[in-house]
């Protein structure tokens, strides 16, 4: 895949080609009639980063993207590229390009003409070398003379990418670009997109509802819900330290159990959960005290037969009963019914170190204090749950 990419870029991945301006959205709002699609959104996308806007359909992520592209006028707020206010700039005057969800390739033009479109509109005469270089970059060097509709979905996707990248925009916007591809191709394209982004060093803003896609590709993920950003940060941080129940449920899965804070220590929070004291680190506590949700990710939980003793520093809740076992090859997913009637999920790697538990087995659940997070009980414990299956 090195053909067509000049040596310098390879030697220095992540180099910034453009002036390297940050994209800044300031108090951006968009209303469609009475419906608020985007509500007072403020965020900064650093130059050269791969930024993902993640959220369920209808959360306002595509509207945000279209406002950056200039295809939608904000009701209020401003958009800056570096110091330049582009809020009122017509789309064709913005140094921003979009890879559309349905690719929107021009059916009356060949693949090469599609890719050359942007350069030609800006008055460039000699475009062939550049077009060939970009088609090589997306591994379609031999398809230039075809019509887009003769290509497969994945190939069309790459043409759309080349057509946008050739303009070396300050920001490349990707609107669910992999949504129409099947799972295997999508995974492959995720790696490809990430590679290209590293190679060309442009700012990518990627809109998706697929949490795995967002986490695999992006440096920074912003989880959006109902027009506002719930939480923003590196994927690992969002996953391990969710600030809201929506993030806890939308990004992966979580076990959320009701409890109330009994003591605040220097670096730990003590929470009473159904008569058992559970410890959580202060850095992962997003509640001031009182009633809370105590959360832990299913793969962070260890299962042991009832009555076994544990090391200090590990939270243990006892007397669960396994009510469902799903073997998925890599791991086994257990549903454990707790004495207070709630069912908790536990994922265990199939390392072969011990036998699987059977349905009906009595178990204790243990996990480390630093894997515990504490959320405000005022939130809906099921927020974000129903969307989870959309992504896969």
């Amino acid at each position: 895949m090195s053909a067509g990419v000049d040596e310098q870029e390879q030697a220095n991945p992540g180099v910034q080609r453009g002036p390297g301006n940050d994209l800044r959205l300031v108090s951006l709002s968009k209303q469609f009639g009475a419906f608020t699609a985007v509500n007072d959104l403020t965020l900064t996308v650093p130059a050269g980063s791969f930024f993902a806007l993640l959220g369920p359909s209808g959360c306002g992520k595509t509207t945000t993207l279209r406002m950056v592209a200039g295809l939608e006028a904000p009701t209020a707020g401003d958009i800056f590229l570096g110091d330049q206010d582009v809020t009122r700039l017509r789309p064709y005057k913005r140094p921003v390009n979009t890879v559309f969800q349905n690719y929107a390739l021009f059916p009356h033009l060949s693949v090469a003409e599609n890719v050359a479109f942007g350069l030609k509109r800006r008055g460039r005469k000699k475009v062939d070398a550049e077009v060939a270089r970009l088609l090589d970059l997306v591994e379609l060097g031999d398809r230039g003379r075809r019509r887009p509709q003769e290509l497969s979905g994945g190939q069309q996707q790459r043409v759309a990418l080349a057509r946008a990248l050739i303009n070396e925009p300050e920001v490349l916007l990707l609107d669910e670009p992999l949504g129409a591809l099947d799972l295997k191709l999508r995974r492959q394209m995720q790696i490809e997109l990430k590679r290209i982004q590293t190679e060309v060093g442009l700012t990518f803003v990627h809109v998706t509802h697929d949490q795995e896609e967002a986490m695999t590709m992006a440096d920074t993920v912003a989880v959006m819900n109902a027009g506002v950003i719930e939480q923003m940060g590196p994927p690992g941080e969002l996953y391990d330290n969710p600030a809201t129940t929506f993030v806890a449920n939308f990004l992966g899965q979580s076990n959320l159990v009701a409890g109330h804070v009994t003591r605040m220590r220097d670096d730990l929070v003590e929470v009473d959960v159904e008569g058992t004291t559970v410890l959580a680190s202060r850095t992962r506590s997003h509640a001031d005290g009182g009633a809370v949700w105590v959360g832990v990710r299913p793969e962070k939980v260890f299962l042991d037969s009832s009555g076994q003793t544990r090391d200090h520093g590990i939270n243990v809740v006892r007397a669960g009963r396994i009510c469902d076992v799903s073997y998925t090859g890599v791991s086994t997913q257990y549903l454990v019914r707790m004495p207070w009637g709630q069912e908790l999920t536990v994922f265990e790697q199939n390392t072969g170190a011990r036998e699987l538990f059977r349905v009906g087995a009595c178990v204790d659940l243990g996990w480390r204090a630093e894997h515990t997070f504490v959320l405000d009980a005022a939130q809906d414990a099921h927020a974000g749950v129903e969307y989870e299956d959309l992504g896969t």
Partner: protein
């Protein structure tokens, strides 16, 4: 009433769906039968009759009868005698088509992209004139363009027309009548192909640095070409062969080939009339083929 029902031709692009898998049964042939019979009865038979009539002995009359003598001279005479009318027909037809395109494109564009919920009302308005007969509508134009009519009075007042200037019985009146009468044939196929354009393609053009005029020229116009071709053909072919508009809005100075054919048939000169008809048909066919080849929309044929 939906849009495709208004104009079943629909620009012809929908017909390119994948062909159904071949099935070895007689059902297909049975389904073809009505169409084949129709074509035989109403196309092949008249065509053969017309061509053979054009080759009859020109000396024949209704009283003495006609004889098939393969008189190819009929064609030479027809073209010799009526070259002016042929030229005029093509000119008037061409002008009417051009004006219909210039009027019809913005209208079809507005209906397809800007009309919102008024779309179907506007489409209905486009075809509403068809509820009245072609003749009556053309006769109304005769009244409108009359020397004492409001239009002429206003134009005289504005000195666009001279004090004794007139509209009725002039070439512009004939071209106007043709344009008016065939405008819906232009608008409907144009609408059908504009309506099919994915707006996101136009958005994409804007995103790729095309100003609105450039986006129109590079994306919208090329994608609407099937409609342009279908519309111009549907307008030009009947307009070039028309004789009613000259009859009602023109004078013998504006005589088109259609009038000659009609009067020759009326006078019993069947061979000459048939030879003119066939020549007109071939002429138009040749032009259409050339046009479609140039426009690059072979799918229409």
């Amino acid at each position: 009433m939906t849009a495709p029902a208004l104009f079943p031709g629909g620009g012809g692009a929908d017909d390119q769906q994948q062909p159904p898998p071949p099935r070895r049964s007689r059902t297909g042939y049975l389904l073809l039968l009505p169409g084949t019979l129709w074509l035989l009865l109403f196309f092949m038979v008249p065509l053969v009759t017309l061509v053979s009539t054009s080759l009859y002995d020109p000396a024949g009359t209704l009283e003495t009868g006609y004889q098939l003598t393969f008189a190819f001279g009929n064609y030479v005479d027809a073209i010799d005698d009526y070259a002016t009318e042929f030229t005029r027909s093509l000119l008037y037809g061409g002008l009417a088509t051009l004006f219909a395109l210039l009027l019809g494109y913005p209208l079809a564009y507005a209906i397809a992209f800007r009309a919102g919920r008024w779309k179907y009302v506007m489409l209905l308005l486009v075809i509403a004139p068809f509820f009245t007969s072609f003749l009556i509508r053309t006769l109304s134009w005769k009244m409108l363009l009359a020397d004492q009519g409001v239009i002429v009075e206003v134009l005289r007042f504005l000195h666009i027309l001279g004090d004794d200037g007139r509209l009725l019985a002039t070439a512009p009146a004939v071209v106007l009548g043709l344009t008016y009468n065939f405008l819906p044939f232009m608008v409907l196929p144009l609408y059908a192909s504009l309506d099919k354009i994915d707006v996101r393609l136009i958005e994409a053009a804007g995103d790729l640095y095309a100003s609105p005029p450039q986006a129109f020229r590079r994306v919208t116009l090329p994608l609407s070409m099937p409609g342009v071709v279908a519309g111009t053909l549907l307008t030009f072919i009947p307009a070039a062969g028309d004789y009613i508009n000259v009859e009602l809005l023109g004078t013998p100075q504006q005589t088109m080939i259609g009038n000659r054919i009609q009067s020759l048939f009326g006078a019993g000169s069947y061979p000459a009339a048939a030879a003119l008809s066939v020549t007109l048909m071939l002429l138009i066919l040749a032009m259409v083929m050339l046009y479609i080849r140039r426009a690059g929309t072979d799918e229409l044929l």
